[in-house]
């Protein structure tokens, strides 16, 4: 091979894709530690930039450069605009939306390939394996596309109801069998245009039907699953187009996403099959367990502030309710005041606090809370017996001792934060209701628990004012 061949455009492109694959893997690795995470996304971004630019010179691209630039511009501007202005609390549904777009893109690539085959132009690269993977990628990508859009609509509050009908799973199964049959036809036989339409229509429908019965509380696991599925679809279409960057990145994400989905499901104590095929957080589990004994005892903000100000160690347990009330900035102010008085303050975060694992960390980070004050469930639970005051704000099920004690409770077995082991518990809550899941919380009735009623932000404000005036 002489130098001229070595520097051919094909080699340049292949070398760039190779570099991109390395940058992606390095980026993901860096993203798994909070110290280096920011560098990670930037490295991955550089890889993406290189791959995109060199692809304009790809030998298989012969026309439509104008359309290409137009599509890239429109897609980028819309995504940039929406990504910049989305509130941190709405992050989960935004991720679902962008993920759905990726799945849709993978499915559309497969559609182009299949249309080429139908019209007689043939797959870009023939072969039975390519045929099968094109169809599989189309199927998975389409399901991830419509499923993610439904997940987005649900979390965004556009679709509040959980739709279920008798025999739903049987219907899903039959539709899926039909889909597989059509997929078989597309992959191995001469198919008609009708088969193509039916195949994509059915795949879209199944994505919708799979997602509508799933309750809001389980949605993060589902989004993570669709993320992994999109990765797989991208990897498969990468084979069809003989593009190693797509193959590697897609499968890496497919595997990482699968692991992440498992970790999330485990943190919620919900096997994945339960999330997909059984209802929870949907209301049909009802209260569960008999009502706890005792009564709720309330406390005023002033007294609560004094209790905390003279404590040695305070643990704050925030939940999604805190974020909804936009109280995280006030809570951080409160934390700083307490720290100035020499009180040790830590944040305890349950894996499913917020709307997806890690979401609460993002919200606290936004308020300026350094991540070394924030502890995971495993690290903090042993500390509760030495804690003077636990301040629970906007969290409910994740501190319910029923998960430890009451076998009849629907959340029995879920790992919880053992705040009831601390000397005093102060629960900030709007009213006396049972909240999101409808399960009675035994913690609220415990002897060492005091209820501080009110909106999260107002209460935090009052606590700050009370401590300032001490």
């Amino acid at each position: 091979m002489n130098l001229e061949n070595l520097l051919s455009i094909e080699n340049l492109i292949n070398f760039s894709y190779f570099a991109t694959a390395i940058l992606f893997i390095r980026g993901l690795k860096l993203m798994s530690s909070p110290v280096t995470a920011r560098k990670g996304i930037i490295w991955a971004g550089v890889g993406m930039g290189i791959a995109t630019v060199v692809t304009f010179a790809h030998p298989q691209i012969s026309s439509n450069y104008g359309l290409m630039l137009l599509a890239i511009t429109i897609g980028s501007v819309l995504a940039w605009w929406s990504g910049k202005r989305v509130a941190m609390t709405d992050m989960p549904q935004m991720i679902a939306l962008y993920n759905g777009m990726g799945g849709g893109a993978a499915a559309a690539i497969a559609a182009v390939e299949l249309v080429r085959e139908y019209t007689g132009a043939g797959l870009t690269h023939g072969g039975v394996v390519a045929q099968v993977l094109a169809v599989l990628g189309a199927l998975i990508g389409t399901i991830a596309f419509s499923g993610s859009l439904i997940a987005f609509a649900k979390l965004q509050g556009w679709m509040r109801k959980v739709y279920r009908f008798p025999g739903q799973q049987v219907v899903n199964l039959l539709l899926f069998a039909g889909l597989l049959f059509l997929g078989y036809k597309l992959a191995f036989t001469h198919f008609g245009g009708m088969d193509l339409y039916l195949f994509f229509g059915l795949a879209l429908l199944i994505g919708v039907l799979m997602t509508v019965p799933i309750g809001g509380a389980d949605m993060p696991v589902v989004i993570s699953l669709y993320n992994a599925l999109t990765g797989l679809a991208v990897g498969f279409e990468g084979f069809v187009l003989q593009n190693p960057a797509m193959m590697i990145a897609g499968i890496v994400v497919g595997a990482a996403g699968t692991l992440l989905t498992q970790l999330m499901a485990k943190a919620m104590n919900r096997p994945l099959t339960n999330v997909l095929f059984a209802g929870f957080g949907t209301g049909d589990d009802g209260g569960g367990g008999e009502g706890p004994e005792g009564s709720m005892k309330s406390i005023e903000a002033g007294d609560a502030a004094i209790t905390m100000a003279y404590a040695e160690k305070v643990v704050i347990v925030p939940g999604y309710g805190m974020a909804v009330a936009q109280a995280q900035h006030k809570i951080w102010e409160l934390t700083q005041l307490l720290k100035d008085r020499g009180v040790k303050v830590a944040f305890a975060i349950h894996p499913v606090a917020g709307r997806m694992p890690g979401h609460m960390n993002v919200l606290l980070a936004e308020a300026g809370v350094p991540y070394d004050l924030i502890y995971d469930l495993e690290d903090i639970n042993s500390q509760f017996p030495n804690t003077d005051v636990s301040l629970v704000i906007g969290a409910n099920d994740v501190v319910n001792p029923a998960a430890r004690e009451d076998k009849s409770s629907p959340i029995y077995g879920m790992p919880i934060l053992d705040v009831d082991h601390s000397h005093n518990v102060i629960v900030v809550k709007r009213g006396q209701g049972t909240g999101f899941s409808g399960i009675q919380n035994h913690l609220f009735f415990a002897d060492n628990t005091r209820m501080l009623y009110g909106d999260g932000q107002e209460v935090a404000q009052k606590l700050v004012a009370a401590i300032k005036s001490l």
Binding site: F24, I25, G27, L28, K29, M31, S32, S33, P34, V35, A37, G40, I41, G45, T52, F56, H58, I61, S62, S63, L67, M68, A71, G75, S76, A79, V86, P92, N99, G102, G104, A105, A106, A108, I109, E113, V115, R116, A121, G231, L241, A245, M246, A249, I251, V252, V253, A255, G257, L260, G354, M356, P357, G358, N361, A365, G368, P370, Y371, I374
Partner: protein, 96 residues
């Protein structure tokens, strides 16, 4: 590319993906999901090839949609991941 080479690539990539994030702390689950979401935005490259060889209107329309969606995946995924990770600070870097 021969089928078996592809199979090896798939196998190695799967193990890599699994290993790379196996020790991730819970606090990074959301940004990492978002980051991996960005990485599969590489589908943009394939979408560009699909549109670039489209030679009739149907293929052009589908290809156009593919590139548009993929570009949204790339840019949106990057912007939100970067925004989230930018906020993660330790008390040593002056916390608040």
């Amino acid at each position: 590319m021969e089928g078996f080479v592809a199979l090896y690539i798939f196998m190695l990539a799967a193990f890599t993906g699994y290993e790379v994030i196996s020790k991730v702390p819970t606090i990074l689950h959301t940004p990492l999901m978002s980051g991996s979401n960005f990485v599969h935005g590489i589908v943009l490259v394939g979408a560009m090839v699909a549109l670039g060889q489209a030679d009739n209107t149907v293929e052009q329309i589908i290809g156009f949609v593919a590139v548009l969606l993929a570009a949204g995946n790339v840019v949106g995924g990057y912007v939100v991941t970067e925004r989230m990770l930018e906020m993660f600070k330790s008390s040593k870097d002056g916390g608040s």
